[in-house]
């Protein structure tokens, strides 16, 4: 059996999730504290991937980053970054696509912490960054875990965006979900079942862990 699509899927999901943590925390922090009138617009934009067909996102992505137009050409020539039909492109698209899944739990977590925790920390002379790092984030581990796992699982389940901007290049952009589609088209039901079953089992396990941890079922096993 060819494990490459499975490995590629988890590589994509891991890279995307790690980068998303560093993007979503500052973004959520800013959204919780900002007083700008643009807040609803930004929140809407960040949440669009929840409702928009992935193909729409993929289509515009393809338009924007294609070497055939000015911006894509500039990226390609000046920075040497090719975002279409490449792994880097998949990562960038996945980050946008999974952003709401990371951002919403973190935003909710930040908003639910009592304001006095932040204020107490400020009065002890601690900076905003130290307060976020040492006081806020450690007290919203459940939200962080939910965000991380949901973004990871959602990236694993990506299909439309990848197909649009990644294509189907083995070892580069052919992730498991694409491979399944590919095998079914070629009437290789055995191989399709292999990929499908692995994805099913792994995503089931990941989500189960989240519910077990956040539901407090595992508390008695650790201190």
């Amino acid at each position: 059996m060819n494990w490459e699509p499975i490995i590629l899927t988890f590589k994509l999901a891991s890279v995307t999730t790690i980068l998303l943590v560093f993007i979503a925390i500052p973004l959520s922090y800013w959204l919780v504290h900002t007083k700008t009138k643009l807040k609803p617009v930004i929140e809407t934009l960040a949440s669009m991937p929840l409702v928009l067909p992935p193909t729409v996102l993929g289509f515009y992505f393809l338009m924007a980053f294609s070497p055939g137009n000015t911006f894509g050409n500039w990226l390609n020539e000046w920075l040497g970054i090719k975002l279409v039909f490449s792994f880097t492109g998949l990562v960038v698209a996945s980050i946008l696509y999974s952003l709401p899944f990371m951002m919403h739990p973190i935003q909710a977590g930040l908003a639910s912490l009592p304001k006095t925790l932040t204020e107490a920390s400020y009065l002890m002379g601690k900076s905003k960054f130290m307060t976020l790092l040492k006081v806020l984030l450690p007290n919203m581990k459940a939200s962080l875990l939910t965000g991380i796992v949901l973004s990871f699982a959602h990236t694993v389940g990506e299909f439309g965006v990848v197909l649009m901007i990644g294509g189907n290049i083995p070892g580069k952009t052919k992730v498991a979900s694409i491979a399944i589609y590919d095998e079914v088209e070629a009437l290789n039901y055995g191989a399709a079942n292999f990929y499908s079953f692995i994805l099913f089992v792994i995503t089931f396990c990941i989500l189960l862990v989240v519910y077990l941890v956040n539901g407090g079922y595992l508390k008695k096993y650790w201190k």
């Binding site: 006095t116 204020e119 107490a120 601690k126 006081v135």
Partner: protein, 291 residues
Amino acid sequence: MININITKILDAVNGKMNLQLQLTIAKGDFVTLYGDSGVGKTSTLRMLSGLLKPDSGIITVNEQAWFNADKKVNLNPQYRNIGYVFQDYALFPNMTVRQNLEFALRKNQTAEKVTNLLNTMGLETLQHRKPETLSGGQKQRVALARALVQEPEILLLDEPLAALDIKARLKLQDYLLEVHRTFNLTTILISHDIGEIIKLSNRVYVLEAGKIAKQGSPMAVFVQNNISGKFKFIGEILKIEPQDVVFILTVLIATNVVKIIAQESEVEEMKVGDKVMVASKAFNPVIFKIN
């Protein structure tokens, strides 16, 4: 010396309220802000500590401008040397008692400071516990100890004892008074408990709709008639019962329930729940020997 002369429009329960304050607090004073909910007591503490920005005016502490609207001075809370005990204590749930105190350390302070404070405040046995496992009174003591780590000159207490039962409250009142004296603090307390105010503070400001309605020593503010009593206790009326020609008042003084005789004319303006002062003159107290 704290000088406050500020205005701030606040969103109160029934519309906007204009908070206008002018007060001077001497070093070493124990001051109480008293008044109904929503008159601006907490906002005053928040503006003094830099958590809320006044609309106009000045705040000077020891000749240093902490806030000056005209000169655009607004010192961050990080740079105001203030100990603040929040109503909900605001202990960090992810840290133990000791870690909560250690987090408050300044860069040039050592962990020894925390050890000393834990000992002074009688918290050594609790130091490795998480806040969620502590009782209300214990949390209160931890919050107070944590507020003292940075050796502040000003201590702000936002109804610190309101959530505690009467026994713990009485104990912690003594404790607060001792802390105030030991650490040479200027303390500002928010409280609704007149007994507590008389016991702790030497000056009280009564706030009404954003303005100072009355100020002075607690006795002068709360006790209108000048009674030359030898013993004075503040209590709350629990029951008023007519008995032949007189009335029997049942009064809660601290943890004791006391029965007192009163004339009809005295009872007329009292109702259950009122705070009263029970005084006794030199010629009529009853004396018991205590073994």
